[in-house]
Amino acid sequence: MDWGQILSNSASFIIAPATIAYALAAVGLSVQFGYAGLLNMGIAGFMALGAYGYAISSITFGLPWYLCIVVAIAASVVYALILGIPTLRLRGDYLAIVTIAGAEVLRLLFLTSSFDQYTGSADGLTGYQGSFRDSNPFPRGSYGFGPWTMNENQAWVTVIGLVLLAIAVTIVFLLMRSPWGRVLKGIREDEDAVRALGKNVFAFKMQALVLGGIFGALGGVIYALPSSVNPGSYVTSLTFFVYTALLLGGAATIFGPVLGSVVFWVLQTFLGNVLPALAGIGILPVSSSQASTLRFILVGVALMLIVIFRPQGILGNKKELTFVK
């Protein structure tokens, strides 16, 4: 068992594009679920829109990379409005049902061969990074050190990802200490009470859904930028993984989603390396491919344990726990 390699692999995920992508999506989910109490069970749909929005506008329409990001954002805004207008007036559970269904509808639309020429159907899309890589200010070479060594393209994705994440976290930080954030938290507690105080609850919920959706789409863009877009990535379990990251860090915290994503990916990678290795030397009585699937079971168990024993997450306020309804 090569512990050095396992630990290095795990550590590399502290700032990997996938981690940043999850963090962006989890920040979006913290706005929707953590602060506004909107049970969006379809964050994978927003991420898919971001990824496909970027890839299709690059391949089919040949737009430069920054306009592709704008298209991804616009697609998620339109999607949030379509989802929100009929459901935000209803009780919260309906939003969960509609978002989970909406994400599946999107995934199946991207998967169907009817739009093969745009979406690549089951093959997904590749080769949309041209404009992004052309804009790369890093000369060819190797950057970083130790586990965090990357080539110039990876470095550029990481930098753009970190910039977007910093912007997202800053926006959430500023909003949640403003009166706007106070109304949102009030809606999470009891929307009728907030309505009775003269606040347009529907508009606030819609703004939260759209803002979170934009961050989700940006997460999708960063998720797709290093390699390819594959419809199999945007399944419902992606939503649950982002939820795990969010709840791990703390749903109603600023940095919780970021920390949660880092912990999630480092642990994921660690288990994905350690379990097959353990199986290989005969400690686990399973085959090595079974062992790597075992980590997903452990993710599910972890999600349950968090919700039962530490619902406020790593960074959440202990005091709030006393009053969990």
Partner: protein, 308 residues
């Protein structure tokens, strides 16, 4: 029927503390029958009807709420009092009817706009926002906050000054309601009675014209009841109109200037409290014949003669 905002000149209250404050009289025109016209009504409802399936919860032909007075809405359980409250505040939509507040029609106006017009309400089941602090609860009640707009909220410079003045106002009200020691605590940590106080104080943050209280006394201990009563009387002195639903007849008699009795969705009687409570229809429908008799005598577990 005018939207004239000058309140009815109530008999001047003597500025002596703890003296019983006189009730407003002369609120109505003509005989005090159900649906009687008021001298200066703030709410006028016409033909408001709400059915739930086969049940007609509210069917009010005509009712007017007098301005700058304290009006009690009483009636047996299921009489439609809370439903009427919900209809008047836009939380529920009637099947038919029209109603106006301050001369402006409220038909089809959503609840948040009703609240912005100056008609705020509290709830029978108290809605304190548990995971917000008491002070945050209060600040949420203020109207017209620029920081509540998405983009303006991003820039603290825009709303900080207003936030300071809102906070000062919240402190004043909290002091008045004796909640100032609790301001940094989560509202979830308050007792039931304190939540009632908080909800009322929060409603006052918006400088309302009409305050609608749904069972303000339910679950409040006797000592707190007295201070709540004083707060409600203060509201009238400050020029507000109060409409409340209550089952505590002592309270109704003590502070209401006008009483509206509902039964089976209809207004069955209205008038000044003492007269209404003598009305045989009201006694039959709601108060019961034994309202002045000790409960022990009715149940036969206690006899007045046994008492020395």
């Amino acid at each position: 029927m005018s939207s004239d905002s000058t309140p009815v000149p109530a008999p001047a209250a003597p500025p002596v503390p703890h003296a019983p404050r006189p009730k407003s009289t002369g609120l109505h025109k003509g005989e005090a029958v159900p649906g009687v016209a008021k001298v200066d009504p703030i709410i006028i409802a016409d033909g408001v009807r709400r059915t739930f399936g086969g049940l007609t919860a509210v069917d009010v032909d005509h009712v007017e709420i007098p301005r700058n007075a304290i009006t009690a809405l009483i009636g047996p359980n299921g009489a439609g009092k809370t439903t009427l409250f919900n209809l008047l505040t836009g939380f529920d939509k009637p099947d038919a009817g029209s109603w106006s507040f301050d001369g402006k029609s409220l038909s089809g106006v959503p609840a948040y706009k009703v609240a912005r017009m100056g008609q705020v309400r509290t709830f029978q089941l108290t809605k304190a926002l548990g995971l917000l602090t008491v002070l945050e609860n209060m600040k949420l009640g203020a109207k017209g906050q620029s920081g509540e707009h998405f983009f303006q909220g991003l820039i603290p410079g825009i709303w900080r000054k207003q936030e300071k003045s809102i906070e000062a106002k919240a402190h004043d009200l909290l002091r008045k309601f004796k909640l100032d020691a609790k301001q940094a605590d989560f509202a979830a940590s308050l007792s039931g009675g304190q939540r009632k106080l908080l909800e009322m104080a929060r409603a006052l943050m918006s400088d309302p014209v009409l305050v609608m209280l749904d069972e303000p006394m339910a679950g409040v201990n006797p000592a707190l009841t007295q201070s709540l009563l004083d707060h409600i009387l203060d509201l009238k002195d400050e020029g507000m109109t109060v409409l409340f639903v209550e089952h505590d007849m002592h309270m109704v008699r003590h502070i209401a200037d006008w009483v509206i009795v509902m039964a089976e969705g209809k207004v069955v009687a209205e008038g000044p409290p003492l007269e209404v409570m003598q009305n045989p229809a009201v006694i039959d429908a709601y108060l019961g014949a034994h309202q002045e008799i000790d409960l022990g005598e009715i149940t036969g577990r206690y006899h007045a003669e046994e008492k020395n």
